[in-house]
Symmetry: C2
Subunit: 260 residues, 2 copies
DNA sequence: AAGTGGTCTAGACCACTAG
DNA sequence: TAGTGGTCTAGACCACTTT
């Protein structure tokens, strides 16, 4: 009876009011939005569980079943993950190395891809990166130039742009001990050194042609067709914080989609 | 109390036993599989609703909430769709024209794509189609050659292969009044004339080069890069029934993916 | 008006994980 | 063993669609 949308009495002690705007929306939808907002605000981190579902239900004054539905919805949306017996956690992105799902060479299961960072330096954001990142035109940022290989064969060339005040924690890696501080994957480094948790991303695939530099690094002919993947990665609150452009030989490209 | 997995007493009248193998699986999972099997068997068609959730729950002797969860799972899996007040229906595929989501030309919202069927005839299945369709190497099938356009500009060339005993209902279209019997979309024709409901598909994207015939039809240069999409479409029981290969200029190609 | 799915509550019991 | 999520039940009431 408590916590119903049409409830007029003040909330019981320890209970919390939900947004009254959109009061027409079902309780579970308002609850979902309220929790999504708390997740976006980084109130919880991926390494510690949220309060138990029973505690959350009590906090908001809703039935356990309603809270379970809301948490399930947030799992489906990719914001949370639940571990039986352990708790409910904010989700950490796992698509860091996922570019390789597009490019076939060798046995994807058998051989682990590797990274070679060719260059790290401060530079002016190019317009194609400044736009998606919501940064000013002439802003300065950290620029990584990276090669990704499988079996010592170059598969992908990457340019990665990281807006600078925010990624200052990676700045000292500008020194020549290049591969020293960054491991195979970048997202764990973002989290450890800059407290930035990547939560979602958008990728756009197009086809282009190899320039002179691409041809050299990818060991292919100039003007050979390349598949270009541009990724904008975001934190939980939707702020874009990384933009990268990856290029690989179109002949190696193969993408499989399952529809409905 | 009734219908529990460990229930030893015989089912009450009007109640149905679920598979006893996998009796360790939760009730909702066994129920889901049972309903999925009935959907695959074409027991229900997209134009008439399934029995109401209350009837299904009674039939299997489970609580309403359990049946609701199962039906929700099947909606998520893309097998069913629910319409408030109207009922629960087997889902009809809606991705017939979805190739256009890859190719940009004109305003996708403003201009409707059109089809021009260039040829329909019986022919021997090529090996690349016979494999995915699970057909014998030399089998004969119906072959459609089709051009898809937007604003009178050719965007896609398609070769579509339909195994023949099954698609005999389209066979008389081999006569010269080509576009007569097939509309803009093929899947509604499959359903009306051959009783085949497409439910899911797999698409593989690669990059190739334009041959002489492609170049002519797509009005592009020979050897210009093309994006090649190969689709295997299946019925609800997973049987592959259509294989098509579509080609379009890589310069027009743009694919956007949202990750988690 | 009758019948359908959608929301919300309440509570019992089970299975898993961690300290 | 304490605490977490997972399963299942039971039933009240609401919102929508159809006839």
């Amino acid at each position: 009876m408590c916590g119903m949308a049409h409830e007029a009495t003040p909330p019981a002690p320890g209970r919390v009011e939900l947004e009254t705007r959109d009061a027409r929306l079902p309780l579970h939808a308002r609850l979902r939005d309220a929790l999504a907002a708390r997740i976006a605000s980084s109130e919880w981190t991926p390494d510690r569980p949220l309060p138990a579902e029973a505690a959350l239900a009590g906090h908001y004054g809703v039935a356990l079943g309603t809270m379970r539905r809301v948490l399930g919805d947030l799992v489906e949306l990719g914001l949370l993950e639940r571990r039986h017996g352990a708790g409910t956690f904010v989700r950490r992105a796992t698509f860091d190395a996922s570019l390789f799902r597009f490019f076939r060479y060798g046995d994807p299961q058998a051989t682990a891809p590797t990274s070679r960072i060719l260059d790290v330096r401060r530079a002016v954001l190019p317009p194609e990166a400044a736009g998606p990142l919501g940064e000013a035109a002439g802003a300065t940022a950290l620029h990584l130039h990276r090669l990704r290989l499988r079996d010592d064969r170059p598969l992908l060339v990457e340019d990665i742009w990281l807006p600078l005040p925010r990624f200052a924690g990676l700045d000292h890696l500008t020194e020549p001990h290049l591969d020293g501080g960054l491991g195979e994957l970048l997202y764990p480094a973002y989290e450890k050194r800059c407290d930035i948790v990547i939560a979602s991303a958008e990728e756009v695939l197009t086809v282009g042609a190899a320039g002179a530099a691409d041809a050299l690094l990818l060991r292919c002919a100039r003007y050979e067709p390349l598949v270009v993947v541009e990724r904008t990665a975001r934190t939980h609150d939707g702020t874009p914080v990384e933009w990268r452009r990856s290029r690989g030989r179109a002949a190696d490209f193969r993408y499989r989609i399952e529809i409905r």
